[in-house]
Amino acid sequence: MDSIRNFCIIAHIDHGKSTLADRILELTGVLHTTANAQVLDSMDLERERGITIKAKSVRMPYQSRSGEKYTLNLIDTPGHVDFSYEVSRSLKACEGAILLVDASQGVEAQTIANAYLAIDAGLEIIPVINKIDLPMAMIDECRLQLEDMLGLPTNGALLISAKNGTGVPDLLEAIVSRIPPPRGSPDEPLKCLIFDSYYDSYRGVIPHIRLFSGSLHCGDRIMIKSTSKVFEVDEVGYFLPQITPCNRLAAGEVGYVGATIRKAGDIHVGDTIISPDYVETPAILGFKHSQPMVFCGIYPINSNDYGKLTTALEKFQLNDSSIVYEKESSAALGHGYRLGFLGMLHMEIALERLKREYEQELISTMPSVIYKVVTTRGEALMIDNPSKFPPTHYIDHIEEPIIRARIIIPNDFVGACMELSESKRGTMVSMENPDTRRALLTYDLPLAEMTTGYYDKLKSVSRGYASMDYELAGYRSGDLVKVDILVKENQVDALSFVSVRDSAVPRGRALIHKLRKLIPRHLFEITLQAAIGGKIIAREDIVPVRKDVLAKCYGGDITRKRKLLEKQKEGKKRMKMVGSVEVPQEAFMLLLKMEE
């Protein structure tokens, strides 16, 4: 076990994590060519967006310069602010972390956030300055930032270029010399952490595990600590990165276990696996529990697909345990689910994955945060769906979640960032200068502003240079109102939204205007209204259609014309009925798009 090193790479997005992983895999001989770049990013979506979403692990053999043989386990981590839960889970499986900083960019907001997570987890941190081959590399500045912002000793920082391989062999040496080997004994009772899992349609749920004590063989019986469910192990192994079965896994090792776990709900990522002979073995604690902050409703486009959606969500949650969901139904959209996400990017990626990998045709509704609605009776209701708000006259006041955002931004854009943040109801907490060319701004902002494109706007006002990280910082009372949307006098629950009172009218108007363009003309007039309580704040009408007729219907055209009508009707099946009005699915996602 002394020869095992479990480590991960943590970095701000685009600081070169996946490239470094590839280089390490090549140097250890696990990967032979650079043709198949970025091995750990196996989901299409990850490669497209250039970000790593799911943690995975690879085992590598390594012989040090002194001739000793080691087994390195590289555990990949996601790099975006929304995924700190997954990062902390991966960190829990390691003894050390490579903190990667792009020499041309310097320390960014997520560098700080990830470094704090690693420090909290008690990991040995190896600071590494990457991209030293770039002409804009600012090595000395990076050193200073590491020291000033994170308190990391600069003499320990390694200089590398993951792209051309410079310094990577020294990094491997540092991994074996500086990161401690795992502790724990194979002779103690079994205890391992599930830090990831995936679903295989033939073999069921396959947990990725890190053993802290004990060992695992084929035929062993295992128990899931949280559910007390017992399974028989039918395979153990590790990733090379392809799946590779072996005879046993022992304390300190990283791998997977197959145990014919059929039901997605039987295990959860973050659970501890123990031996049923030692049920008193304590669970592994200490990694942050995910807390969903953004919610939206999802509904199958075709209501008959509700069952399929349920199955897909069960499997999906297995792969992404930070998703929470519960049943929800909407008068307009039928039966669906309310999903909770860690943040906006998490939401976008999760919805996209559900669509692509799980082949679900979905309508997703406007994202919402959890509001604390205090009633006139003094009750505090936590509500994640505006349509569930109590009637206006029962509401004493509404509180909304506030986040504390750390923004690192070049000095030139500080003004624009302040202007944006203030327009988004932010209050500045502090402003520091980590180096001569950048500022570190700390703002308290309503989380709801994150759902309406704050981050995208921050990126655009800073020409992409700003980086941001945030954490929940409590609740604050706000002058908030719920706006309802009525289509031909029927309230559309899925379109209700919460707004600051001052902007409720313009937002209501804008939404009604967009709806008017989106909802096709019907054979009757349709009135669209936005209302606060009983008061109408915006109205537009859709005039009835006057022409919808097949001309020249004779001769052989009949078959073709019939098919034309059929197609027309088919299109309507994809619409959702609000009373007698057919509303296209896009309408339910309008609010989101409108804010962009």
Partner: protein, 368 residues
């Protein structure tokens, strides 16, 4: 009742809105085409027809000799002794006395003239190759030669069209004594030049609807009956050939892209002139045979286009069986209750206010 349609896929120039199968610059193939049609007609040897319709394309491009050969040729195999109506579509610029006299001699008793508009600006804007004066001249020639019935096609929604130009056209046509008018709303068919670059003064759908309503009132005032969604006629001058389509009757289509409905099956020839000339009886495709229930629904949809005659479900029951039309009747009753249809105890008819918005009703009749 059985109709015979002959497609003549030839044009001097394609109009910018046209998506029918018709080819410009193929006039050199006319003679071999006539032979091919005569050849194809042998497939239906012995069948008797009550109506004949030469459509296109531009049938008037046939010329007198080809027209004689064509009608003479098919008479050899088909039984045309009971024809009650024979129509030829003509374009104003090629509707010469010589051609129309030859048509008369060949037994044709009805002329349908592609007038489209009596505004030269409107005609030019969609690439028509004739002017208003030529159209009026064609009507005069047809009248003089003495056809039983003269019909004109008028397009609603041409670029620059207004009620004033349309009314003037209708007044002139009614004054010229025509018995039948087809009013077609212009539609932008996919892939046509008009669809690719619609002119700025193209009337909107709403304007088309308005124009149609105005034209309808005008023609009703002149004693025309609005007997089918796109067709108006003086009493007794309805187009029998087309009525047969809407009554679910049988018909045979000769020529590429021509469709047939025979022995319960619908089928069509492929739209390929060269393949057709090579093998006139070898390019049939898209054979469709609906079950009784769908067939009854289809016929109900067609018959509801007949605004005066309407739909008598007892006729359907006799043909398709009461069981097969029960669900249809319940849908019709439902729509009558919603005032989309009018039911007088015997027949269902479209509510007049729903003529231009009948697609959803038809879709419901077809019950997809």
């Amino acid at each position: 009742m059985r109709g015979l349609y002959i497609h003549l896929p030839f044009c001097v120039k394609k109009c910018s809105y046209c998506d029918f199968y018709s080819l410009p610059a193929r006039l050199g193939s006319l003679e071999s085409y006539v032979q091919a049609v005569v050849h194809e007609s042998c497939r239906y040897a012995g069948l008797s027809f009550q109506t004949l319709y030469l459509g296109g394309g531009t049938p008037s491009l046939l010329g007198a000799r080809n027209l004689r050969n064509l009608v003479g040729g098919i008479r050899k195999s088909l039984d045309l002794s009971n024809l009650v109506e024979s129509t030829i579509e003509v374009n104003p610029e090629s509707a010469t006395s010589e051609l129309l006299e030859a048509a008369k001699e060949a037994g044709i008793n009805r002329v349908s003239i592609g007038v489209q508009s009596l505004s030269d600006y409107e005609l030019q804007s969609v690439g028509r190759i004739h002017n208003a004066a030529q159209a009026i001249e064609a009507i005069k020639i047809a009248r003089r030669i003495g056809f039983k019935s003269v019909s004109v096609d008028i397009i609603i929604g041409l670029p620059g069209q207004s009620w004033s130009t349309l009314r003037k056209a209708l007044e002139t046509l009614v004054g010229a004594g025509i018995e039948h008018i087809s009013l077609y709303c212009l539609s932008l068919e996919e892939g046509t030049p008009l669809e690719k670059s619609p002119p700025e003064d193209l009337p909107t759908d709403d304007m088309q609807a308005q124009l149609f309503e105005q034209a309808r009132s005008f023609l009703l005032g002149c004693g025309f009956a609005h007997y089918e969604i796109s067709n108006f006629a003086l009493k007794g001058c309805e187009c029998l050939h087309n009525l047969n389509y809407w009554r679910g009757g049988e018909y045979v289509g000769l020529g590429p892209a021509a469709a047939s409905h025979l022995y319960g099956r619908r089928f069509r020839n492929r739209a390929d002139l060269d393949a057709y000339i090579e093998r006139p009886d070898g390019i049939t495709e898209d054979v469709e045979e609906l079950n009784a229930r769908d067939k009854a629904s289809e016929e109900a949809m067609l018959r509801l286009r007949l605004l005066v005659e309407g739909l008598d479900v007892s006729e359907l029951a006799a043909r398709f069986g009461q069981d097969n039309i029960e669900p249809l009747i319940s849908r019709l009753d439902h729509m009558a209750h919603d005032r989309l249809l009018v039911f007088d105890g015997l027949r269902y008819r479209l509510m007049p206010s729903r003529i231009l918005t009948s697609n959803p009703i038809f879709a419901e009749v077809l019950c997809f």
